[in-house]
């Protein structure tokens, strides 16, 4: 890549920082240059976020249909999977998986619910009275 070819496209980095790229200057020597972004990778990142949104929506539908507990929705919203959530709450992963079932979730005590609320940085009430 030549230094003059370092892409300067729009990206979410705008207003935060530019990033360092290594490219060749006019004498054919490597130099660090700054880039505002590259549309090719912005599209990849946008695609990943669309997928996140899709998963959150799907979770929301499942919670509303009583096919999953609110934990699923907040887990997706916090970009977590069962493994990460297990680590944040200190609850075994197989138990986290069980807690995604509405029947199991409805019997959870406040102590357990508080752990989830802390992990999601929400109140226990938002978990109990899901809207």
């Amino acid at each position: 890549m030549k230094k003059s070819e370092i892409p300067q496209d729009d990206s979410p980095l705008k207003g935060w920082t530019r990033e360092v790229c290594y490219a060749k200057n006019e004498e054919g020597k490597y130099e660090a240059g700054l880039s505002t972004g590259w549309s090719i990778k912005k599209d990849a990142l946008d695609g990943a976020w669309e997928e996140v949104e899709r998963r959150i929506n799907e979770a929301l539908q499942k919670v509303r249909a009583n096919e999953a507990s609110p934990i699923l929705y907040f887990m997706e919203k916090s970009l977590m999977d069962e493994g990460v959530l297990a680590h944040y709450t200190g609850i075994w992963k197989w138990r986290v998986k069980r807690h995604l079932k509405p029947q199991v979730f409805s019997k959870l005590n406040d102590k357990v619910l508080q752990k989830y609320a802390n992990a999601f940085e929400i109140s226990i009430d938002e978990l109990k009275n899901f809207k």
Binding site: M1, L13, C21, Y22, A32, I40, G47
Partner: protein, 335 residues
């Protein structure tokens, strides 16, 4: 407080390495040198493991290794701590800062408030330097950022104790003495870094690591459309491009950074064959960028036939061959 100079770099670990080592007196170290001496170039496509439901691919060696290897090459004495107790971890950081030390610090990016939201996934192998504290704010030199930034105490605790894969557990590290290197030491460090990198890219006997690992990914790509359907298959390609090009790679999956290292080494060692090798890695980097453009055609929805996936795969197969040749050439140079 000791004056702290911020260095922006392509890759966070390189940036922390040069920031800490230069402050300790090793003025000759540059980002490409740190990356090459630490044998940073790599390829792995871990089977049976998924990241955000996509392929688990990395273009660089395991987090922490660049710093560790570079420090070892210059006999740097280090202090390094991980913690169970969050309060203790915070208190010890404050005590070190009060002594005027600058500290390398592993963090998760999910709670890094000075990053744009779009980049804040649960990624825990980020590194930065903390060089002071003013009131409730820590003064932070994050190598990805153009300028130094600040992070509030509460957030510092969250990022240091982020959970999940590579959980930092409050990990801090810093050199404990002045570092000086002779020309000869630098030359030896470069040679060792190159040789180790050749070994890791050519001779690890599993199919998913090194230059041949790229071809393993190519084979997978051919199956994605029928195996996962269009949506998932396209997302997988997007994930490859993100790992390859996202902030922190210097472009082309770290290949340009490695080419820059070889160019710098050619001058230091007075060896023109290294310049030729540098060209080969520039070529590989350009090919990675071309493959990203092709893959973007698919994940943007412009292309979707099996032939398009095959073309992406063919491009990776070709890169696999080019990198193998480049490393074989590099390996044979008498240094």
């Amino acid at each position: 407080m000791q004056e702290f100079k911020h260095y922006q770099s392509a890759h966070c670990e390189n940036g922390v390495t040069i920031g800490l080592l230069r402050q300790a007196g090793l003025h000759q170290i540059t980002e490409p040198l740190a990356f090459g001496i630490g044998s940073g170039l790599f390829y792995i496509d871990i089977p049976f493991l998924t990241l955000q439901s996509g392929p688990a691919i990395s273009f660089r060696s395991i987090p922490g290794s660049i710093f560790k290897r570079t420090c070892k090459a210059f006999d740097v004495k280090l202090q390094s701590h991980k913690y169970r107790d969050e309060d203790k971890a915070m208190a010890e950081m404050d005590a070190l800062l009060a002594e005027g030390k600058s500290i390398g610090c592993q963090v998760g990016v999910y709670h890094l408030t000075y990053y744009p939201k779009e980049y804040r996934f649960h990624f825990n192998a980020h590194n930065m330097i903390v060089f002071g504290k003013e009131g409730n704010d820590y003064l932070v030199s994050d190598p990805i950022m153009e300028e130094t930034t600040r992070l509030a105490s509460e957030d510092m605790r969250k990022v240091r104790f982020a959970k999940g894969v590579f959980a930092p557990r409050g990990h801090i590290y810093y050199p404990t003495q002045e570092i000086h290197a002779t020309e000869d030491q630098i030359k030896r460090a470069i040679v060792k870094g190159i040789k180790r990198n050749c070994g890791e890219m050519l001779r690890i006997p599993v199919w998913f690591i090194g230059a041949k690992g790229i071809n393993h990914t190519a084979k997978n790509i051919r199956k994605w459309k029928s195996k996962y359907g269009d949506r998932r298959a396209a997302l997988n390609l997007g994930q490859i491009v993100r790992m390859q090009e996202e902030i922190g790679t210097g472009g082309g999956g770290f290949r340009f950074l490695y080419a820059a290292f070889l160019e710098e080494s050619a001058a230091i060692l007075g060896n023109d064959e290294l310049l030729r090798a540098s060209e080969m890695f520039t070529n590989a980097g350009d090919m990675w960028r071309d493959s990203a453009v092709q893959m973007a055609g698919i994940y943007k929805g412009r292309l979707s036939s099996q032939a398009d996936y095959n073309l992406s795969a063919d491009m990776l197969t070709e890169i696999s061959a080019v990198e193998k040749e480049a490393f074989l050439y590099l390996d044979k140079i008498k240094l």
